[in-house]
Symmetry: C2
Subunit: 233 residues, 2 copies
């Protein structure tokens, strides 16, 4: 039996997808906003995690009537980073995250990370994943627009030498899945950021798994082979 290996890549979101950090991000923003006198319900912050900071500010203006100038925006960002740092000891990789990446290495499937966060913030939690040094990591600093624009995933695919159409995007938020659709990649949702299955499916997820451990158990469903074709009868 003959087979040609098709090239496939995986583009991972970071917070809520590989790292169990969404809720700490949420309460870090809540605290930073409160210090600016902005009372926004916690669930509304949760639903904005993973989207571009600029769009978050626009949503904030609509929902609270508060417009942020650049100085206040910078202060918010700095306080959020400080608050996140203070919660760092609580933050862990999600179950199966490290094992999933290691399985992809064994299967010869290239992958990259793409986050709407800044490199400075991502650097807090990235060490938890023990990544190979050559895994591409694209952050908000590298592109003009973060999610749900497709730029982050397009850049991550490019760093793998693939077109985004050849890639799966794995993410926990509707912003990941909208960005995946705009990049013409297939989206896979994980519930580990706190969104429910129905919301992820409605945003375009082709499959939804509980977390990386659950995705690892079902790699066959997304066409990842561990058995070399020449071993098959």
């Amino acid at each position: 039996m003959k087979s040609t290996t098709s090239t496939l890549g995986i583009l991972f979101d970071l917070d809520g997808t590989l790292i169990d950090s969404v809720y700490q991000h949420v309460l870090a923003w809540h605290q930073a906003l409160r210090e600016e006198g902005i009372d926004l319900s916690v669930w509304r912050i949760h639903r904005r995690i993973g989207m571009s900071g600029g769009l978050f500010v626009d949503a904030l203006a609509r929902e609270t009537g508060v417009a942020l100038d650049a100085a206040r925006g910078d202060r918010l960002r700095r306080r959020h980073a400080e608050e996140l740092l203070s919660r760092l000891p609580e933050i862990r990789p999600l179950p199966g995250a490290i094992q999933l990446l290691s399985a992809l290495d064994k299967a010869g499937v290239p992958y990259a990370l793409a986050t709407s966060g800044r490199r400075e913030t991502a650097d807090f939690t990235l060490p938890l994943l023990n990544l190979r040094p050559d895994v591409p990591i694209v952050t908000r600093d590298d592109v003009a627009h973060a999610k749900p624009d497709p730029d982050l995933f397009l850049a991550a695919a490019d760093r793998l030498g693939l077109s985004a159409e050849k890639c799966y995007v794995v993410g926990d938020s509707v912003w990941d899945l909208l960005a995946a659709q705009r990049a013409r990649a297939l989206g896979i949702g994980v519930q580990s950021g706190g969104y429910g299955r129905a919301e992820l499916e409605r945003a375009g997820a082709y499959r939804v798994y509980a977390d990386p451990a659950d995705m690892l158990l079902h790699l066959d469903e997304i066409g990842i082979r561990f058995t070399p074709p020449d071993l098959l009868l």
Copy 2:
């Protein structure tokens, strides 16, 4: 025009429904569990908030393989309460919560509160609502089984002198809505605890509002009248 006033009551959940406290509860449990050496993903804790503590322990056993004895359960509960207390300064009533209750007072609609939490924990946040002293408050201490069993809502309806079938249940979690169905009350979902609309509808919500402020804007949709019938032409 003649009209008879139909008797209608409203049974409110507390955390995530009237008080913006779900995410603080989640991270308080996360911290308490970690101190017991139990690593459970944060989103999985989120999805258990509002259910009976005994069922939470059963779910924990399934998801982590850890069985809790009574002493460990007590220690967890105590540490959760302490961690919640340390987060109390961050906790606020949800937008519109106080105004919604006040509107119900004006419309002559009786209401009660019913929470799966213990009275001791509820007492931390209840003062934020400035309730009339005669508003019935039913806690986990008052019934044999908490949500999703119907006991809390049945007891709350009873305290209003109504059958649960005459009441709406307002809650943010699928446990509230399942308990509402079992009590044969109509369920109304609010998204302010972090569940999405689709999940709440699937769990039986007749209507879903963003939060108490949004529900207050739509009281007509659940048949609450502010105009006395004898003023109508």
